[in-house]
């Protein structure tokens, strides 16, 4: 892979993949993110879970540098965000498809890859095969099904082999068989030292994550593995744990 600019060295050793301190984001009177302290070690899969409007997407936008914190700070790979140069080490799959309808799957990938300085065809072919779209490389995104466009969007986020990958609702519209493959690949990426931060409101995917961060109203309700959160709440499932942990302390 070739790049056209200097990139900060990826975090090594004990440097967190992501660290938020007193993070606040307000839109007028709305506190979308309301005082989050978080430190995520590299090489793991983190699930950011919460209902719609809980602040998941805003938190991801703060971490990717697309939004600026009202208060507090966020560092990715030890670099304060926002930082334009660090964006080359970040992969971001947006909640929407984020693909160009008139362009073919290959053209979409080629464009995103070029922006990251990737000019070889091999990484493009690799991610297309990963999302099982190699036989549709010439098909315009407009003619792909909703699930295929999500897969193409994921391929676009992975094409430059990023160190930290933010996936906003990545499996919406993806059929169960392919969802299993997605998670298997996420696991391989984590094993190779990549950090994945996956937002979802689907609790049944939580067990696939190494660690969960439960969000409600812009605050962290709890953090831990799925089993730890269930034990702490004393409930058999995560939905129950989410409700229990959200109750006010007597």
């Amino acid at each position: 892979m070739s790049r056209g600019f200097a990139i900060p060295e990826p975090a090594t050793g004990t440097t967190p993949a992501m660290e938020a301190v007193g993070l606040v984001k307000r839109f007028g009177a709305i506190h979308a993110v309301d005082g989050i302290d978080l430190s995520l070690a590299p090489g793991r899969i983190y699930g950011v879970l919460g209902p719609n409007g809980s602040g998941k997407t805003t938190l991801i936008r703060l971490m990717t540098g697309l939004a600026r914190a009202t208060e507090g700070s966020v560092r990715v790979l030890g670099v304060p965000m926002p930082s334009r140069t660090l964006l080359a080490r970040i992969g971001y799959m947006t909640q929407g498809d984020g693909t160009y309808a008139e362009l073919s799957a290959w053209e979409n990938l080629r464009f995103l890859a070029a922006l990251y300085g990737v000019r070889d065809a091999a990484p493009l072919q690799r991610v297309l095969e990963l999302v099982e779209l190699a036989d549709r490389r010439g098909t315009p995104a407009l003619e792909l099904s909703g699930g295929m466009r999500r897969r193409l969007s994921l391929a676009c986020a992975l094409v430059h082999d990023p160190a930290v990958i933010f996936l906003d609702e990545p499996t919406v519209g993806v059929d169960p068989a392919l969802r299993v493959q997605f998670w298997a690949h996420f696991r391989r990426l984590a094993d190779a030292g990549r950090t994945l931060i996956v937002s979802s409101h689907v609790m049944d995917e939580a067990d696939r994550c190494d660690e969960l961060v439960l969000l409600r109203a812009g605050r962290v309700l709890g953090r831990g593995t799925a089993a730890e959160l269930r034990d702490r709440a004393g409930t058999p499932d995560l939905e129950g744990a989410f409700l229990r942990l959200g109750e006010p302390v007597p």
């Binding site: 056209g4 334009r84 929407g96 984020g98 008139e102 922006l115 990251y116």
Partner: protein, 390 residues
């Protein structure tokens, strides 16, 4: 600035357009079709043959009666239909209202006495007043027949000697398109490119692709440059096509047995096509970035179309396409003077009609203004692409 990213973005825009055949048609074919239609209408419309009535209200005057006779003879000589509508103004008015006549020439009371004094009141020419363009054309036909027909004193000559044709800077026969074409070329250089850029960038904003784009290392300046480059490619082709179609012309030779076919308008141009190209290109580059900037204020493609009456039509009305800036009401002239289309139209007329080159102060001003607004719109467009990273 990383040129690879700029080229990648420009290439993406080219790829998108090449797959969108309708937009290609809009940007390349539509201007030529409209130019061809206008050329056809302006050049080949049949000359009107208005029905004319002459009413002498100054009945007691022998000189007036002689003038009436001379006018009548001139109309007959021109083979225009002469209509009797009565001897007074109400009768003439009724005939016009009933559409029994197209043009009435009134010799006012006191005309004969005025002739004797050398200061006659002007002849009054009345039309139906329903279609202004038709009325003007009919009056022109009548005046052309009357001009020179009468040895009239100076007071009446002023209304009879009106020249219709003839930019004196262009050799050859007069051409109704010659003075109008530069305005049209300028207008098309703006209209289609503005609409397409605005919609294209709106899609980028609302479709989630801008969010993804901004999460890559691309800089705002590179986005603006990539868009400008991508659209400049199409704009350049569009301008070359319009200029080639307008300025060159081929038709089946005389004596050809088959149907007469003409391709291109063959409009005479006094100046350099390259300079005309430069004027339109600068204008179009500004329009691309105006489109990016204004797309911020729209949420849907329908809202982009709402910019047509707000941005495009006022420039078309005030920018010198139909009326000169000097003839506009005083309050509107400063407005016209800040509109880019004004300078594009003026610059194109300077080049194509007056044959101006870069030594012309007017053309220098036009080019400077267009370049200045292009830079301004580039800055404004860049400012609307928000990412909170440097």
């Amino acid at each position: 600035m990383n040129p690879w990213r700029v080229v990648a973005l420009a290439r993406r825009i080219v790829d998108q357009f090449l797959r969108d055949h309708r937009s290609l048609g809009l940007i390349f074919v539509a201007p030529l079709v409209i130019m061809a239609l206008l050329g056809w209408v302006l050049r080949d419309s049949s000359a009107p043959s208005p029905r004319v009535a002459i009413v002498n209200l100054d009945v007691a005057s022998a000189p007036s009666e002689r003038v009436r006779g001379a006018l009548t003879e001139a109309i007959r000589q021109a083979a225009l239909p002469l209509v009797e509508v009565g001897a007074d103004e109400p009768a003439a008015d009724a005939a016009l209202r009933a559409s029994a006549v197209d043009v009435v020439i009134l010799l006012p009371v006191g005309f004969g006495a005025g002739l004797a004094d050398g200061d006659p009141p002007p002849l009054v020419i009345v039309t139906q007043g329903v279609r202004g363009t038709d009325d003007n054309a009919q009056v022109e036909v009548v005046l052309r027949q009357l001009a020179g027909a009468l040895p009239l004193p100076p007071g009446t000559a002023s209304i009879l000697r009106r020249s219709v044709f003839g930019p004196p800077f262009i050799a050859g026969p007069p051409d109704a398109l010659a003075s109008f074409a530069p305005a049209l070329i300028g207008y098309f250089g703006f209209f289609f490119v503005f609409i397409l850029t605005a919609i294209s960038f709106l899609r980028e904003r609302v479709g989630g692709t801008l969010e993804r784009l901004l999460a890559t290392p691309i800089r705002r300046a590179e986005i603006v440059a990539g868009y400008s480059l991508g659209f400049a490619i199409f704009t350049t082709i569009q301008v070359v096509l319009i200029l080639a179609f307008s300025l060159s012309g081929w038709s089946t030779p005389d004596g050809w047995d088959g149907p007469r076919v003409a391709i291109g308008l063959g409009i005479p141009s006094a100046g350099s096509p390259l300079l005309a190209f430069l004027v339109v290109l600068l204008f179009a580059l500004g329009s691309v970035n105006l489109g990016i900037f204004l797309s911020t204020f729209a949420r849907t493609e329908l809202q982009i179309l709402q910019f047509i009456p707000l941005v495009i039509v006022p420039q078309g009305l005030l920018g010198g396409v139909f009326w000169s800036i000097e003839s506009l009401p005083a309050a509107l002239q400063p407005v016209a003077r800040v509109m880019p289309l004004t300078y594009a139209v003026e610059g194109l007329r300077e080049v194509m009609v007056r044959g101006a080159d870069l030594a012309s102060r007017t053309l220098q001003l036009d080019l400077a203004f267009l370049a200045g607004t292009a830079v301004l719109f580039v800055v404004l467009a860049g400012a609307t692409i928000r990412r909170e990273v440097v």
